[in-house]
């Protein structure tokens, strides 16, 4: 039976890899030591003291606690982007309950309430992801934005202080203070939670079911593991860790700032990935994540503390030497962390799985390279011909009936309905030309981003960076016009070039390096905005040449600049009501619509989104298609950035914030799918119209019966838009893809006929 032995010869070496500690952690310790020595060399005054070490550890401990929870989430092949806003929401919630100026409750109640809040957030995330099957990144991104909106809505952007009252409850607030041994108690909390997490993941069935679910969910489910519960509890755990970290922070600061936790999700995810956890699930250790948190915390500190320099300044006739700290401009830290995140994610597919280092080392020594798994290209990765029953039912229908079966019909109907609703609510304001003009302006920014993003989402990818690329391009154009002698034309061209470049980076990382699109563009989301705000040094720039600003004016002003403005008649009315950017957007959208619907490139995009494997077999260069789509998206965002500068005649670093949310919502409302394969330009434009109208309606001044009026604050609008995005995604998955309504109605009409078909498609 030699054949049998040849095939099934087992390989056993050592005791297998530890789930507690390994080579990765050793490497991290070495890097950390090197970094600390570097800090010591650059800034001995700060890094030379033990208090510095403790302060690094103190700040890292909060990230570390969140990283413990995040490890469980990522090992489960999930993602939780909401930890930063949960961290911030804890502060706001606690502050409002505890502070004498608000509810003035005792500390125990406030803490219990915060933990309950964490439980609710975790369960919400878990429910959205595991039960409603919303992709994790989109569900938790929305929770992030909603959480931020609620923080601003509740606090109005103001700080809540409770320092005096904190003295009445020394037990709780001692957590944030320095103990008799000379270090902050938060470090102890961190160590305890890290130890519990590490043991739980490495040695208990709790941890092993987590690994199994992340490694192969189907296999785990067949083995009798309740994977839905395992995934759900990871979100709860992550939220509770974020609340704990938020409470630790509060105990130290003794106030609640609405900016707490801003961008913390980036630090935490970067920490966990740096700590050796795979973004593709199934691999990761808590100790690695904790070391990652300390390392990222250390980098953060080095970047923020800066390098001491001596500057010579002129005071009258005398020259004086002044000691100063050279610091990086604001935005540099998130920019850097965004890059770290992307690089760290690359480690798993390239260093670990393809063993690049081992192969390079073998080549250097002239030995044959080690065995790498046969990736087998597209032939191995399985992809089903996805089933959604909702299509083709309209086959053979004509006219209006056929229209109702279109995926983008709902958006068109909604636009009309919302417009009529606005007209009904405030006819005096709604019919005015000013309102239409301002709505068209708001529409053009969202629509322009949506046009580019439609290609990306039809492809099955996502671009979370559109708002940030808008800011980066806007910043580039603004800085060039202000600080260089280059004219507005050069500024516009370079700014658009920068956007194309950002799109190319997204496309390269996604299509050629093989990162999931959401993680590659999440990196860009941070670095593009970070660089944008650091090149303008975090300030507002204005005073651009008027010839440049014409891009953002009405058609009348443009024609007037050339001396050909109309003087009377309907032509004058049109020229005054329509802006240059609206025309530009409609032209771009028309071209893009034709490309998507009628050209081979458009067909390729839809084919790749429908079934990438099938498209590859058919000889379509799927990588190039995906790359191009992300490039188009970056370009459209850059256009939007240049128009932003021209329209507002100024640039602020928060330009385009939350716009990715608007654009993604527009596309999904307009018939696109978060899973790709669908999308029309008309649908996306109608979706952008829906979002614009909702924003406009939410900001309407409602005049009440008694003559008083009410306006919804801006921050609550964002909460609504977040909710709408979630509703749209859930509606897309359950109504369009799985055709729940059709199954119900079909079931009622045709008895058992409809159900097996739906079940077959769901399988």
């Amino acid at each position: 039976m030699s054949a049998t032995q040849a095939v099934t010869r087992p390989i056993e070496s050592g005791r297998g890899s530890s789930l507690l500690f390994g080579g990765w952690e050793v490497g991290l310790l070495v890097i950390m030591a090197a970094l600390y020595l570097g800090g010591l060399y650059l800034n001995p005054a700060f890094f030379g003291s033990t208090s510095a070490l403790f302060s690094v550890l103190r700040d890292a401990s909060r990230y570390g606690v969140m990283a413990v929870g995040m490890t469980f989430v990522l090992v489960n092949k999930e993602l939780d982007l909401s930890v930063g806003s949960t961290f911030g929401l804890t502060a706001t919630f606690f502050g409002m309950l505890f502070a004498p100026s608000y509810f003035d409750l005792d500390v125990t109640t406030a803490v219990v309430a915060c933990l309950a809040l964490g439980l609710v957030i975790g369960l919400t995330n878990g429910f959205l992801v595991t039960v409603l099957e919303v992709p994790a990144f989109i569900a938790t991104l929305t929770t992030l934005f909603i959480g931020r909106g609620v923080i601003l809505g509740l606090t109005g952007g103001k700080n809540i202080a409770f320092e005096l009252k904190a003295d009445e409850y020394p037990t709780f607030f001692r957590i944030g203070e320095i103990n008799a041994l000379g270090f902050n108690n938060q470090i102890i909390v961190f160590l305890v939670i890290a130890a519990i997490g590490a043991v739980a993941l490495a040695y208990t069935s709790y941890g092993w079911t987590t690994y199994a679910t992340g490694g192969n969910e189907q296999a785990a489910r067949y083995a009798g593991i309740n994977t839905g519960f395992v995934r759900m509890r990871s979100y709860v755990l992550s939220s509770l860790c974020a609340v704990t970290a938020g409470l630790m922070n509060l105990a130290q600061s003794k106030d609640a700032d609405p900016a707490f936790g801003l961008g913390a999700e980036l630090v935490v995810i970067a920490s966990v990935i740096v700590g050796g956890t795979a973004i593709f699930g199934g691999r990761g250790r808590v100790i690695g994540s904790c070391l990652g948190a300390i390392l990222v915390g250390l980098i953060d500190k080095v970047l923020r503390e800066g390098v001491p320099i001596t500057r010579i300044i002129q005071v009258g006739d005398e020259k004086m030497e002044v000691a100063a700290i050279s610091q990086l401009p604001p935005g540099a830290v998130p920019a850097f962390l965004g890059v770290v995140l992307v690089l760290a994610v690359l480690v798993e597919p390239w260093l670990v799985r393809r063993r690049i280092l081992a192969r390079a080392w073998a080549r250097l020594r002239g030995l044959p390279p080690p065995v790498t798994p046969d990736l087998g290209g597209v032939a191995i990765s399985g992809a089903q011909t996805r089933g959604t029953a909702s299509q083709a039912r309209g086959l053979g229908k004509r006219g209006i009936a056929a229209f109702f079966y279109r995926r983008d019909a709902a958006a068109v109907i909604l636009v009309v309905a919302l417009w009529l609703f606005g007209f009904w609510a405030r006819p005096d304001f709604w019919q005015g030309l000013d309102n239409s003009f301002s709505m068209l302006l708001a529409f053009s920014e969202i629509a322009l981003l949506a046009v580019g993003l439609t290609f990306v989402m039809a492809n099955g990818d996502i671009d979370l960076s559109v708002g940030s690329v808008l800011a980066l391009s806007g910043a580039t154009a603004a800085v060039i016009m202000k600080d260089t002698s280059l004219g507005p034309l050069a500024a516009g061209v370079i700014a658009i070039g920068v956007g194309v470049l950002a799109g190319a980076v997204n496309g390269w990382l996604t299509a050629y390096v093989g990162l999931p699109a959401f993680i590659a563009t999440l990196g860009t989301f941070y670095w593009a905005r970070g660089i944008g705000s650091s090149i303008v040094s975090g300030t507002q720039l204005n005073g651009f040449p008027e010839s440049f600003n014409l891009i953002g004016r009405s058609l009348f002003e443009l024609l007037d600049a050339f001396g050909i403005a109309p003087t009377h008649g309907w032509w004058l009315a049109v020229a005054e009501a329509v802006s240059v950017q609206t025309i530009f957007v409609l032209v771009v959208a028309a071209i893009a619509g034709v490309v998507l619907a009628y050209t081979t490139f458009g067909q390729k995009v839809l084919a790749v989104g429908g079934n990438e494997r099938a498209a590859t077999f058919a000889g379509i260069n799927t990588r190039r298609v995906r790359f191009t789509a992300l490039l188009i998206s970056g370009t459209c965002a850059a256009f939007a950035g240049v128009i932003y500068d021209a329209f507002y005649r100024s640039f602020i670093p928060t330009a385009g914030q939350l716009r990715e949310l608007d654009a993604i919502s527009s596309i999904i409302i307009g018939g696109g799918s978060i899973f790709g394969g669908y999308g029309t330009m008309i649908g996306s434009l109608a979706g952008a119209g829906v979002i614009t109208l909702i924003r406009q309606l939410l900001s309407l001044q409602i005049i009440l019966r008694d003559g008083s009026s009410f306006v919804l604050p801006q921050q609550w609008q964002n909460v609504f838009i977040g909710l709408i995005l979630i509703i749209a995604v859930v509606g897309d998955i359950w109504l369009r893809q799985k055709n729940i309504l059709g199954a119900w109605f079909g079931g009622m009409r045709a008895g058992e006929e409809a159900t097996p078909a739906v079940l077959e498609h769901r399988a």
Binding site: T4, A392, G396, L606, G610, A614, I620, E760
Partner: protein
């Protein structure tokens, strides 16, 4: 003696420590229907993926129409007239039947625009020639049943005018009537002179349409019989307890 359309000699393939194929030979004559059977992990799919170029062999020779080949990807084997129909059909559910049949090579107008009228017309013609019952070429593929999705996949393969079609477990997901229709389609293709390899677990299907059956066991040839000269029982015995042997001359089967 005619030249075999596919001739594989002494194929070896390993995945890490696992020897998936050991000295495997396969010959396929023009117009022949060959059933490729064997237990799970016998190497059937691996052998076929090596023919199409999805996998690279470790050792051995492959001749297509008498000339040695070294396919790097399925696209290269397609150019030489080899088509594979995958178990999951590899279709885009969000596109319609016509778009799927011409996936990636849609007829064009003015260089960039898709000529939809011509595409749907040609698709209809191919479906008619194949005598399959797909009602409309405008239907989205995801709304079709499994059997009809397979018909689309076959129509797509046929549109390349292949010399060899490989079916990977074609009847695994089909209903009884759909299986029956598929077997008719296979016979129809045979009439047109297309050689076919059918990877299957279902012996009855192979005995109904096949000319010859080849058995693999743990990556080795263990049997090669003409359908006319064997029984289902004998083939089953080979699958379970066959010993390595060299294949018989395939022309004996015709």
């Amino acid at each position: 003696m005619t030249t075999p359309i596919v001739d594989m000699r002494g194929i070896y393939k390993s995945f890490g420590p696992v020897q998936a194929l050991i000295d495997v030979n396969l010959r396929l004559m023009p117009g022949e229907v060959l059933g490729l059977v064997g237990d799970n992990s016998a190497g059937k799919s691996t052998l076929m993926k090596i023919v199409t170029g999805a996998y690279q062999r470790d050792a051995g020779d492959i001749f297509i129409d008498g000339t040695p080949v070294h396919f790097k990807s399925p696209h290269e084997s397609r150019d030489r007239g080899i088509e594979m129909i995958y178990q999951d059909f590899a279709l885009c559910g969000n596109l319609d039947v016509g778009q799927n049949i011409f996936l990636g090579r849609w007829p064009m107008r003015y260089g960039i625009f898709v000529d939809r009228a011509r595409m749907h017309g040609d698709a209809r013609a191919i479906l008619n020639r194949l005598k399959v019952d797909v009602n409309s070429v405008y239907q989205k593929v995801e709304s079709l049943s499994g059997g009809r999705q397979q018909s689309v996949a076959i129509a797509r393969a046929i549109s390349f005018a292949p010399k060899v079609v490989i079916f990977d477990e074609p009847t695994a997901n089909l209903s009884v009537t759909a299986t029956h229709r598929l077997l008719e389609t296979i016979s129809e293709l045979k009439v047109h002179g297309v050689a076919q390899v059918i990877i299957s677990h279902r012996m009855t299907d192979i005995f109904e349409v096949g000319d010859r059956v080849m058995v693999l066991k743990r990556g080795r040839n263990v049997g090669d019989r003409a359908i006319a000269q064997t029984t289902e029982k004998e083939v089953l015995e080979l699958i379970v307890s066959g010993v390595p042997e060299t294949p018989t001359a395939p022309e004996a089967a015709l």
